[in-house]
């Protein structure tokens, strides 16, 4: 009876061992290579010639304002965490090819990446990172850190450096080290920040963020700040617009808020400030 159970355990252990050997290897690089142009023609200049600024018919979708910041709860009722706010415009040249793009892409349960620069580049490589993270979790039986995920992302992008990719992404999430944001771009740059903004409207967003950001805020204040920064960026930057998508990552969950129309937000904020938008000439 006892011997039998021991044998069973041995069998199980042996099975587990063989399982580990056959399945738990480090991920290998796939053999896939992107088909390239005939020898001697540089893909970067070729692509920019046919699909770049001066291209007549076909242009890639791009243009953005994205921002993210970390804050601590001001009172006990607040959750704190990370606010990620983005606009939703994709333009190809001067034409707005979409005004409802979702620029907050999921990487895991507790992690997102934002999308700035070439839309297709971001979508594709974020998927690659998401796949890596899922495989990591299955292999290591623990959640991947934001730092590790963003490093993988940066390494992948560095591998394609100089080939004309255009990615400006923020990898934001909550892990065992707390809330973290990493800015990653297509030059292979990666840095950790508390307050961060990327894209054509980032300067305007920084203006608002730097003015009103406090390390300790209530949830409502923080969400409002995200909205306000995006609204002002879309107001002054023609490359940004549409609606404002907001994502709040708290220590326990990821909350996606419904989209806010930025042109309506303008009036709301003006009213809050007591600013009169309608010009009424003085009756002398």
């Amino acid at each position: 009876m006892f011997g039998c159970t021991f044998d069973d355990q041995d069998d199980e252990e042996r099975a587990l061992e063989s399982c580990k050997q056959s399945f738990m290897f480090e991920p290998r690089h796939s053999d896939f290579v992107f088909p390239s142009l005939p020898l001697g023609i540089d893909s970067k200049s070729f692509v920019s010639q046919h699909f770049g600024k001066d291209a007549k018919n076909m242009q890639f979708r791009k243009g953005t304002t994205t921002l993210a910041f970390v804050y601590e709860p001001a009172t006990e009722n607040d959750k704190g965490g990370i606010i990620i706010a983005v606009d939703s415009r994709a333009s190809s040249g001067e034409y707005i090819s979409s005004k409802s793009v979702m620029k907050i892409l999921d990487i895991g349960d507790r992690m997102v990446a934002t999308m700035a620069g070439g839309a297709a580049d971001c979508q594709f490589w974020t998927r690659t990172v998401a796949k890596y993270c899922t495989l990591y979790e299955l292999r290591e039986k623990s959640q991947i850190t934001v730092s590790a995920a963003s490093k993988y992302f940066a390494n992948v992008l560095y591998g394609y450096r100089g080939k004309g990719l255009s990615v400006g992404s923020m990898v934001a999430g909550y892990d065992k080290r707390g809330p973290q944001i990493f800015k990653v771009d297509s030059d292979g740059d990666r840095c950790q920040l508390r307050v961060c903004s990327v894209g054509s409207g980032s300067l305007n967003a920084y203006g608002i963020l730097d003015n009103h950001y406090k390390p300790k805020m209530t949830d409502d204040e923080a969400r409002k700040l995200g909205l306000r920064a995006i609204m002002h960026a879309t107001f002054r930057d023609s490359g940004s617009g549409g609606v404002c998508n907001l994502c709040h990552i708290t220590p326990t969950e990821k909350i996606r808020l419904p989209p806010f129309d930025v042109s309506k937000l303008y009036y709301e904020f003006a009213e809050e400030l007591g600013k009169d938008i309608v010009y009424t000439p003085r009756d002398d």
């Binding site: 142009l37 692509v47 076909m58 090819s97 409802s100 979508q123």
Partner: protein
């Protein structure tokens, strides 16, 4: 040895300097000859693409998807190659691909998708759903990131829940699921019209907003193409209309359009 070499250079003029200068000048002349204008240089650059014009459009409804395209193919926007070139391809009972741009790439893209769908059918013994096909198309477009397909694709069909689905793409596979989409030369004319009529973004709150039925979508589509054909030179000849309704076979129609 090195010492004697620098000695020569220092003492007198380098005997090779004239030769080097000549070589450099020759190279420069070869790369950018002064007698070639920038227009000729541009023309002699390798250009594998052409653009055959035309436009396509797709609208998704509650239980239907409707696609339309014109059937004109043009060369250099002016010369009409054919009046019945089909830009839309029915991939299976619930997926339709509509593509504008370089017609060679349009056909290649169709062939790639058709063979992948065939393989899927062989492996899984069922037809691929439109959501899967949309992701597949996105990835296939991106795989050619460094030598892109010169196409603007729109994929439409009926999804697993019986709802209409439209996916729009850029040339390298930026994907988005939306209610209506267009691509091609008349895109900037068709989309604002649909924004007004289907998206209701330009209407005031009091204005009447009729629901989108199949009849309404069909007539909007015809209107869109007729007005595009009035003002856009590469769009015309015939409307190719494809209607996919949940639980019904796909219907194809051809309607006449301006031929000038």
């Amino acid at each position: 040895m090195a010492c004697s070499f620098t000695g020569i250079a220092k003492n007198g003029p380098n005997p090779y300097s004239e030769m080097f200068a000549f070589k450099a000048a020759m190279k420069a002349a070869e790369a950018e000859p002064v007698w070639r204008t920038s227009r000729i240089i541009e023309r002699q650059r390798w250009n594998p693409y052409s653009f055959e014009g035309g436009s396509t459009c797709a609208i998704a409804g509650e239980n239907f998807a409707i696609l339309a395209s014109d059937t004109r193919l043009t060369q250099n926007d002016i010369n009409i190659l054919t009046r019945d070139g089909e830009k839309m391809h029915i991939l299976n009972d619930s997926i339709v691909l509509a593509t504008t741009g370089f017609y060679g790439d349009v056909l290649q893209l169709k062939k790639v998708l058709q063979s992948r769908l065939h393989k899927y059918r062989f492996d899984y013994r069922s037809d691929m759903s439109v959501d899967l096909c949309a992701e597949l198309l996105s990835r296939n477009l991106y795989y050619r990131r460094f030598f892109p397909y010169y196409t603007g694709a729109v994929l439409a069909g009926i999804d697993e829940h019986g709802k209409g689905a439209v996916f729009s793409y850029d040339p390298i596979g930026c994907i988005e699921r939306i209610a209506y989409s267009a691509s091609g030369n008349a895109e900037p004319m068709i989309i604002p019209f649909l924004d007004c009529q289907i998206g209701h973004v330009t209407l005031s709150d009091e204005a009447e907003k009729p629901p989108l039925t199949l009849e309404r979508a069909t007539s909007l589509m015809k209107d869109a193409f007729r007005s595009a054909a009035e003002r856009e030179i590469t769009t015309g000849d015939k409307i190719h209309l494809i209607i996919a309704e949940a639980g019904k076979p796909i219907v194809q129609k051809f309607l006449p359009l301006r031929e000038d």
